[in-house]
């Protein structure tokens, strides 16, 4: 079974390489251009120096749209990669779940994190979102150090995620699920809410409009009154993405978005993810086992095995790497 998947993956790789070529081309170019620096970084160059050196190259990429999040100060002027993780490690007891994890994700990239079961992929997500505190290493979001911050602070800095096992607010309506996501962007005090002052009606109206806008992007607007738990599985996945987007993140983490989906649903999901990236200019990091999806939409990949980075680079290269195939299938 597993073998077949990989073969499929290998076959689709060629196609995917072609398909993503137009979108990925400039970035790939930039990536190649940066290779010497990667080497320099590996040689433990002081971080700031490395970042300064990289600035001119990224300037071209940084033409992205201005964001309306509470920008993280003057630092986040776009000359930094959206996510830069260095030497991230955590152990649980004697087990090194993640060991020396590095990744650089540029703005607007669709980045894949793959690896066999138990490789530490979800642990990486939990480290990025502050569920676990790393033993070593740093996490920079848009050039701002967010290492060791709390989950809610990290969300306010601009990382939102979905979960491997769907975690919706199951007794709330679909609309309310998204409105909870808008919590930190449309505010009125609790007292204003209880006394039903005019600001309550005004902000609630804004929230409803924004939430319906998001729901209609995911084709969920007709179901806005449903209880979240009454949605079919595929739509629950979509709602989770919509809720994460409601927090207006800079980086979206998707943990196995295609888990439990049939091929039709998966290809629909691929479209949705692509659409989200284009429509919101979103940077996306996703964990996925479905090689077809990974090969189809990810521009770059990092492969984890036993908590360590096995290899990283362009999708087509990584998927044809012998070590990756070995990691999935064994010797």
């Amino acid at each position: 079974m597993a073998k077949k998947t990989t073969m499929d993956a290998a076959r689709t790789t060629v196609k995917a390489g072609n398909a993503t070529a137009p979108a990925g081309a400039p970035q790939n170019a930039a990536q190649t251009a940066r290779t010497p620096q990667n080497a320099a970084r590996a040689a433990q160059t002081p971080q700031n120096a490395a970042q300064a050196a990289r600035t001119p190259q990224n300037a071209g990429q940084a033409a992205g749209k201005p964001r309306n999040t509470q920008a993280a100060g003057a630092e986040s002027n776009g000359s930094f990669p959206t996510l830069e993780v260095r030497n991230l490690s955590i152990s649980f007891g004697g087990l090194k779940a993640v060991d020396g994890f590095n990744v650089v994700i540029e703005k607007g990239q669709l980045y894949g994190l793959i690896g066999p079961n138990g490789a530490g992929k979800t642990t990486v997500f939990n480290l990025l979102t502050g569920v676990y505190k790393p033993d070593t290493g740093t996490i920079h979001l848009d050039g701002k150090n967010i290492t060791g911050k709390k989950t809610i602070e990290i969300n306010q800095e601009g990382i939102a995620r979905t979960f491997q096992n769907i975690r919706l607010f199951k007794d709330l309506s679909v609309l309310d699920n998204v409105k909870v996501g808008l919590h930190n962007h449309h505010k009125y005090s609790t007292l204003e809410g209880i006394l039903r002052l005019p600001s309550f009606y005004k902000v609630e109206k804004e929230m409803n409009e924004r939430a319906m806008e998001l729901l209609s992007v995911f084709d969920l607007d007709k179901e806005c009154d449903y209880k979240a738990s009454n949605l079919p599985y595929g739509k629950q996945r979509k709602l989770e993405i919509a809720r994460a987007l409601a927090t207006d993140p800079k980086l979206l983490l998707l943990d196995e978005p295609a888990a439990g989906m049939n091929p039709n649903e998966t290809s629909e999901l691929m479209e949705t993810i692509r659409f989200v990236r284009e429509k919101f200019g979103m940077t996306i990091l996703l964990i996925e086992h479905d090689m077809k999806l990974v090969a189809g939409i990810c521009e770059k990949l990092t492969v984890l095995n036993f908590g360590q980075v096995l290899t990283q680079g362009d999708t087509s290269e990584v998927l044809n790497d012998r070590r990756v195939i070995t990691a999935y299938l064994g010797e």
Partner: protein, 353 residues
């Protein structure tokens, strides 16, 4: 669409309470109320307030608290204490009662906040155990508390009246340990009770259907997800818990002003009381405020109204409990209910057409 639905639901709840008030008023005017039932009216309101406020913790926040009687006890004693203290300073009984209500709510709310900070880190059974213990501690502390006042000011003791060491001429003992507070004016009336119940409903329902309420319910449904989208868990847990405590404190003040002697006995504020309120909440449906009110009123009135039946009283009470549970929670019963409802609605629509 949803918003209108919510509005209608809330209007029905308020309407129900107002209707109850009107019916009781009419019965009172026409002389259909027995003195036994008249004595029940204030407790009915009190239990309804307690049930609604506990439902905020249990049904909306999703944490099992068994210390509700403790908060009620705090409110009752601080309220009654204030009314007695200000007897000469503020002659108007109504004003004193009003001040007592506010003080009772504030004191209970502050304690809710203080206790909530350590306790809300616990989950499920542990939270229940700690809140249960809290309720008992409060009750027992007040049971041995002596407070008196003389020209020099207030005196406190945990031993007895004489150890207060007060001036013989001007000294007045306000709280007499196990004998509690005596001489509180019986200012609580049914109308005030209903007004307080409406106030409670107003606060709780508006809170639930606002930004804060959604945050609280998101914590109940999935704490990890709520955290991941930037909801401040501690803040909203404490908010729900302390508002719930404050409203219980208010109910306590109402209770204190319906008795001439207020004692911190296990009959009044013991854990049985907390369990009783929890029974109302569970029977009325978690998160269902209207259900809480109905359950509280029905189950408070029932044992008293059935007093004539002596031995069969508790039997009927038990049967009612079982029937209510089935009606509210059994999947089959819910199915039948929704079928009947849709048939009624379908009929109404046809008529309109």
């Amino acid at each position: 669409m949803t918003k209108n639905k919510v509005r209608i639901q809330n209007a029905v709840t308020y309407g129900m309470v107002v209707l109850f008030w009107v019916v009781i008023q009419i019965m009172d005017r026409t002389g259909h109320l027995t003195s036994l039932f008249k004595g029940l009216l204030v407790p009915l309101c009190m239990y309804a307030i307690l049930a609604v406020s506990l439902n905020l913790t249990v049904g909306i926040l999703g944490e099992l608290s068994l210390g509700h009687a403790g908060f009620m006890c705090l409110g009752a004693f601080s309220g009654a204490f204030l009314t007695n203290c200000l007897e000469t300073a503020v002659p108007s009984m109504g004003l004193r009662f009003f001040m007592a209500l506010i003080l009772g709510a504030v004191v209970a709310g502050i304690f809710g906040l203080l206790i909530g900070i350590p306790v809300l880190r616990l989950k499920g059974d542990y939270l229940a155990i700690v809140t249960l213990a809290f309720g008992e501690i409060i009750k027992n502390l007040i049971n041995v508390l002596y407070v008196g006042r003389d020209v020099n000011g207030f005196h406190f003791s945990m031993k007895d009246t004489t150890s207060l060491g007060m001036d013989k001429e001007t000294g007045v003992v306000l709280i007499k340990g196990a004998q509690g507070i005596t001489g509180t004016p019986r200012a609580a009336t049914f109308t005030i009770g209903i007004l307080l119940l409406l106030l409670t409903l107003f606060i709780v329902l508006n809170l639930i259907h606002s930004r804060a309420g959604r945050a609280i319910m998101s914590i109940r449904d999935n704490r990890i997800a709520a955290e991941s989208i930037g909801i401040n868990i501690t803040k909203y847990k404490l908010m729900a818990f302390s508002i719930s405590a404050a409203l219980a404190g208010m109910a306590g003040v109402l209770y204190a002003h319906s008795l001439s002697t207020l004692q911190a006995s296990s009959n009044n504020f013991g854990y049985n009381k907390s369990i009783l309120i929890l029974v109302f909440v569970v029977l009325g449906g978690l998160g269902n405020m209207r259900g809480s009110i109905i359950a509280a009123m029905l189950l408070t009135a029932l044992p008293e109204l059935l007093r004539g039946l002596n031995d069969y009283r508790m039997l009927i009470y038990a049967v009612v409990l079982i029937v209510m549970t089935i009606f509210n929670s059994s999947p089959k019963a819910i199915e039948i209910r929704s079928m009947v409802l849709s048939r009624i609605r379908g009929g109404a629509k046809k008529e309109v057409a």
